[in-house]
Amino acid sequence: MLAMNYRGPFRVRADEKPYPKIEHPEDAIVRVTRSCICGSDLHIYHGMVPDTRVGTTFGHEFIGVVEEIGSEVHKLKVGDHVIVPFNISCGKCAFCKQELYGNCHESNSEATAVGGIYGYSHTAGGYDGGQAEYVRVPYANVGPTIIPPGMDLDDAVLLTDVVPTGYQAAEMGGIKTGDTVVVFGAGPIGIMAAKCCWLFGAGRVIIIDNVEYRLEFAKNYSQCEAYNFDEMGDPVQFLKEATDWLGADVCIDAVGCEASGNAMQTITGRKAMVQAGSATALHWAINSVKKGGIVSIVGVYGPTDNLVPIGNVVNKGITVRANQASVKRLLPRLIEHVQAGRLNPKGLITHRIPLEDVADAYRIFSDKLDNCIKTVLIPPTAKAQFS
């Protein structure tokens, strides 16, 4: 089968790989019909996540048709077309029992801080991902959700990560009616987070980035204010002034470890890698939020340390909330939002690229070429069916 093959930082290609096997009675094999490149895929593409092994296949955002099921799979049948949450969750451990499906303790032998994630290094369990024609899906009774009839597949594939993560970013903000929310990062997750803030009754939503075409896109898609931090000198000063000198009620870090905007963070975090990525967005979030405010983090960071003003967290009495999205918990509500037209996930998609051209697809997304917001990869097997 054809699959994305990681060869090293900034080097990927489409290769023939063996068809995946059922390795556990609760496994299913899914024929992928759509997969996306996520902003967090860029962290592993750039070689920033430890234990990313050559020869593995990335891709934690995918949907597909069930081709084969293990002996203990009862909730799916061959032929079902399913949304596969990016987190692999058993449904039985203490964390899954409490709907923390992004923190499953039975899906990752290699690390305890993170549950299993498809195609996201051995630090996240060593699974192949969905940027392939076929993929092994463990715990098929738990995570995969049948795509509702009539739902556009482009909407469905974004329900695997982008929509739940953006929504949970807003949810963790504990937004109160009329709150001012600042979202750092106008990538797909930040744009979706800004959009979701309105569902919680935000009174003002501001998005901050330095890529002009993305800010323009966010302004229209998320119906929010959008500002370029390259044009404002000190973004914290700007945001204080813009919020009557108190700071935002809620700040969302939707950037993570590859933030730009601060030379010291960039050099130590992204170039020398002496900290777990550049924490510029988080730094700004902590300093821009009001006293007693909430900082919600969905940006991905490495497993070691980051330089952030933790003293200000204490002195300002800030609540920091963060997690990987609990996709399974959120899916029913998010499907309702999509069906009711309150959320339009497929509106984020700017590029549909054949899996064969995966190297170009990564480069376009990574270098923000051709006004790229979100890239979908279409495997040959899916193209045959859906073209």
Binding site: E23, H24, P50, G126
Partner: protein, 165 residues
Amino acid sequence: MKTVNKNFEHIKGWGIDNVPDDEPNYPMKHNTGADHNRIHWNRPELQEETVEILKSTERPGNSAVFGTVAPPKGLSGILRRYAYKHSENKYRHWLPLLLADRIDVLEGTLSDLMKGRVPNPIAERGWGAIWKHKPSLLVRKILVRLSVFAAIGTFFVYKAKKSNS
């Protein structure tokens, strides 16, 4: 619900997920007390270990299910085995893994060559896409690389000349 002096009619679904009686509302954890039973939940059937799986020292054994792709091998594998002797709390875990990842790239290239496949780094890096959409960026990348190589080359030539003289 507080009155907000703005009109949000143009935003479909504004405030629909706001629970005024429960502000601030962030239902993050459906607390059942399950974690007070510690690790004694009814575990799923355990996956058979058919390849070498490196395990975190912060857990008693494998998770019930795990990935089996790209088991450790070669020099990078030796480093990875060393790394996994140390907990996730230690740099001795993470830094050898980063080093192993870089060595793995060289091993991957070597493996390609031994299979008779010459890697195409230009295609693998997607430089065709850069050329198509932003040729100036590609030119800049090439110039930066050439400058770095030239600087390194000049340094060694200078050093060799100095030691000869």
